[in-house]
Symmetry: D3
Subunit: 276 residues, 6 copies
């Protein structure tokens, strides 16, 4: 992640929670009181966002000392110490909630992504995300997906072309839609086409798109369509895939399966601050 | 919600997704092409965030016409039309994803909150939220909780005092912690104390705090402690409550039960844009 | 005060004054020229904002050395050195005006608040502020009030309920207004009611609000009404109180007296930079 | 004032006060309730900032109707209606405090400036402001000075050169300081020199600066020095001038007298919202 | 271009020029004075940025009426009227310079791009831009390139992979560098490789990158290398190409030629505001 | 330049280019890899913006070590090392493009300005800039002009009065326009008048403006008009001056010649990062 953007967004997040000041902590702890605490896991999962602890505390108080003991992408289990913090007690407590909110959500995403990755073993199919992220929080969520072993689809509407049913309907055909788009594209942008029938798959292949999405199809159908596609074109399965039904797609040999639930319906990983 | 803040944050959210421009849509649809579409529910739940549709589209293009058919807090079921939009097809498609991401997450929260509210019927205990929200998105999530029939706990660290175990440990006693805090408080701030034993409950009562939290206790313990508290002090149950175990607390007669999961581990409500 | 917000606002304040650059100082002093100077009081008053000196100079140049000799809330008199600064002369001079503008205004507020606090001695009545602050500068002004021994009323419209005459008129009665509000409040928000007659005071007591304000009443009337209010409800006097008439209210035994003039009509405390 | 900057700063000011929402007003008034109210003066003074009423309300709700009846710079007396507002009661009440805070402070400045202008009648000496403004609020305060008949000195450190004692000391002489500065200036920047002795006045005249400031001198001294200065150089009196001692300088015939108190120690003009 | 970003950046640009206010125009023209003026070309070129005129003036004053007579990408010649503006003279004059600065620079870029496109006729080679843009102004400059008939290369470091010499040196080989990158890429990102020898071209082909750049080579060399590359891989020529030497590459049959000078060394197109 | 504004704008510029992250570099270089590189000139010119290298890299990573070997305003020739950088290779490469874009453009402006300054030798006429700058980048461009030996005209519309033909036409005469303006000006603002005939020059002299501009006149005419102007009024030549025709004005003895081309039509100076 771009460190400058992390800092800018963290400032905003910390101000959202702290406002004019943390009245409880400032009333009870004097400014000079120092202490030590640690962030530790309370359940098993994959960590994402360890850098947040350091950056957030440094924004609040550059003299706070943070040691991170687990790398992003590594597994933690109940009781594992993720990081230790030493310094002003006020700062440690004031930053706690925002840091936990980020760590827990990001690690929840990494953990769920990793479960999806495990389910797909030993196939070569990769797990990827979607644009169904929490507004304002996309960079962190997409990064968390990679910590879990997943891959990022488009960052936004600006860095890849996705031709959907209503684009095709308006253009008249997949071929025509791709032609319109290619007419405006520089050398570095890929074109993906959503397909809903074998005819569309064939049309997309003929039009030489970069990626073909099989949208909302059964595993059987997908397995058949996949055989039609040359290796120079990537394939993606999307639409209604969850951890529950994911294993059905293990043998279809597509390149990517994208799961919206990785970012829109995730359980936080239980992480806590303690030992102070 | 403060309309000015909605607009400011929506601008940021839309720019996060659109970047320099929506290459797919702009390549295929000419600027003058108009159309009509609707946002509709694909499953049963409680709506939250209808105002977002209007505000987001007006930021992108003030000539777009948006009619909202369901109010926040009302139930929708599969197929219900939430809003219709008429105007430039480019704008309708470009704004779609951000609007859906907000509506789906907010309605997911409202729906889960409402389930919690239903479980607590017919007791007088109210459901409330926590500060365990997605960073940068708290205003929307806390509002969604109220759409589901829940109540808001503190907005942040600045608008209420919460005295926790480490505050008490440092101050020496609940009484001393409250004294320290009250010494700095104006007339409009409430003090809540986390208690973990009957002795602490009694101490908190003596010290005349405004709210007592029973932290991580069994329903039986809570029922007993609740009887000790005079009606002038509000009570709150917190810690590890989920939709699964919530019904255990239906008969304990506390004033509020707070659930972190309402905002940190929620399923999106399935909503879609269609009919164009 | 939240250090992150201090920094963000100071950046804005310094840029407001410096613009593209300080032409006078940059033309005369070479970049490498170092010097030493001090901020000192030119009249007697209570200091507020010492932290500003350090933070402002560190934003402009982290190598500048600032030593603060007086704590916020302490009295200074003519000639007292508040802080000494060593480092690049350019930076010392370029930051001077903004720092003085803040220190002087904040210390003026602390001084006036302290005068009010002294006037109320030896009663238990506390002095508090209002929302009548300079737009964009509220956090600093409310903090300055506490440096002078005063207390903060609401931070804004979001962290406390104030039921005024037109709310009551529309709702039909104080009881009905409180009922409407309480129906939407979580556990941590207080309700204050403005009263203008004994009947209203009694109604507010019956409706169990948290704070009763006696609005624009004579000291005699207030003394009488105060006797009606149980100790579980706080009382506040407001409306047209100044340092001139404040002593009239010394014996009325209310909990708080709020003064708009503390923030809307204050004299700066005379502070200067010298000795370079 | 630059309308774009007014809007940007008003957004910030309104969000400072409203936060996530106005809980009192939203709980009592339904969204559809409309009403009418007016801003009126409660004492005599000079109005400044009428445009704020319109702009602030339009930011909150473009359907609100605002009619302004008094122009900036005109006198108002107790009971004069400044503006009437029609529309959603919620919006009228939610915006009230920020608008009043601005109007009252700006009109307080205009009124005090006007008093200074009256005191100087019938001389040709003009009243002007300083950089001793409230941080973040300078544009509004400097504009208010012009509404009262005053003039603006430098906007900041970037649009005019002011050579002070420590500049002169370092450069070696006024002549040398001006030479250093002029060496770096384009055609559009003026140079003012602070003088504290007749010798300095003569040196400044010889060095052909644009403005000479007589710093902290008695009226008699100033009257003498003024005679030395050719009409091609403007003169300014500064330092410790208040409304109380201003009349002493009525006959010294300088071009400008600057008063820091116009912006750092002003009484708000009493203005209220009523009639709803 | 994303209309929301245009507005945000235009606000910043207008405030950069106008500051607190346009002293000249406000002093001379009364607020109610209306007039009419037009933007017209003073030399031949390709227009880019017509939308700026409307958006900028609407930010300053929504009642101003702007009619645009030429579309982006169309040729204008000396005397051609690009747009007419009616409304407050103050606003017309205050916005003039920023609008012209944008129109002139963007049209300069479009014109130079178009000259490059003409030079490459009748080959199929497309002209594209680079990341050598003016910081903060990239969106406008990249859009202007498309108005001139050119294409956009990467928007930034985030939407495409470019493997350069130092990447290759560190990774050990092109194959290894691509492997490292591909290991982290989702389905929608393209990989371009800079090549400086025939061996590198062959290695890049073997490694199946998406685009091969021939960096700083003679037209003859490029023509040879181009023959090695299969049609499934795009080719780009880059490095030191200007309008002067561009025609040398007309017959090399590559897909794209990128020119840094289109954005880093461009002549403004002469456009003026007149007729008022 | 104001260091705080440099940092704020650099943050924006770096985020514009880096977005969520630099995918190429992060995929190939591990975080701990350190290296060394240098910025060096590839052609002869005048350097401007050396401070940018340090500030940009410190924003990205405070541990990066930057040593600058050439001062702004000094000449560099092909091969000259401007600065060396040591530290994380990722950071060195990620910041490269934005730094080069700034250095190259700013040095291009300094170089062109210096050429103009050389052409005017040995006259006393100074070269100055205009407001024809790239929107959002003005502070950097105006600073670069001074590095080349030029001077800055107005920063914007707020720090100097320029009376143009349409101001004069509306006011009725130059005298009347100046009177209107002077009526609103404080002591520190200069007035410049554009003149297009000898009569206008004489009128401007009579009205005692501060600067007279000879707009779009031949060198002969200017030489004549210049003789009319007393030494207390500065003169400026403007309109269509380029490096090609500048020498024609060497003997006209005006104070300033302003060139729009210095900022609107400049060639970048070729600078590169290498040696890693």
């Amino acid at each position: 992640m771009n460190h400058l953007r992390i800092k800018q967004q963290l400032e905003q997040f910390l101000i959202e929670d702290i406002g004019v000041h943390d009245i409880s902590t400032n009333a009870i702890f004097p400014a000079h009181r120092v202490g030590e605490a640690c962030f530790f896991a309370k359940e098993t999962g994959v960590l994402a966002g360890a850098e947040i602890i350091k950056t957030a505390y440094q924004l609040l108080d550059p003299t706070l000392q943070v040691d991170v003991h687990v790398n992003d992408g590594e597994e933690v289990t109940n009781g594992d110490i993720i990081a230790t913090v030493k310094g002003a007690v006020r700062t440690i407590l004031t930053g706690e909630r925002v840091i936990l909110n980020m760590l827990q959500r990001m690690s929840g995403i990494a953990t769920m992504t990793n479960q999806a990755v495990q389910i797909m073993q030993p196939s070569n199919t990769k797990i990827c995300d979607t644009r169904k992220t929490t507004p304002g929080f996309r960079m962190f969520e997409k990064y968390a997906v990679t910590c879990g072993g997943g891959y990022n689809h488009r960052i936004g509407l600006y860095d890849g072309v996705m031709i959907k049913d209503n684009h095709i309907a308006f253009a008249g055909s997949i071929r025509q839609a791709i032609k319109l788009v290619r007419h405006q594209l520089g050398p570095m942008v890929k074109i993906e086409v959503e397909t809903e029938s074998e005819a569309e798959v064939n049309e997309a292949i003929d039009a030489q798109c970069d990626v073909i999405m099989f949208d909302n199809q059964s595993a059987e159908t997908i397995a058949q369509w996949q055989k039609l596609v040359p290796s120079s074109i990537l394939t993606e399965v999307s639409g209604g895939i969850t951890l529950e039904n994911l294993s059905l797609y293990r043998h279809v040999e597509v390149d990517f399966i994208s799961l919206g639930c990785l970012t829109h319906s995730v359980q936080s990983l239980d992480i806590s601050l303690g030992g102070m």
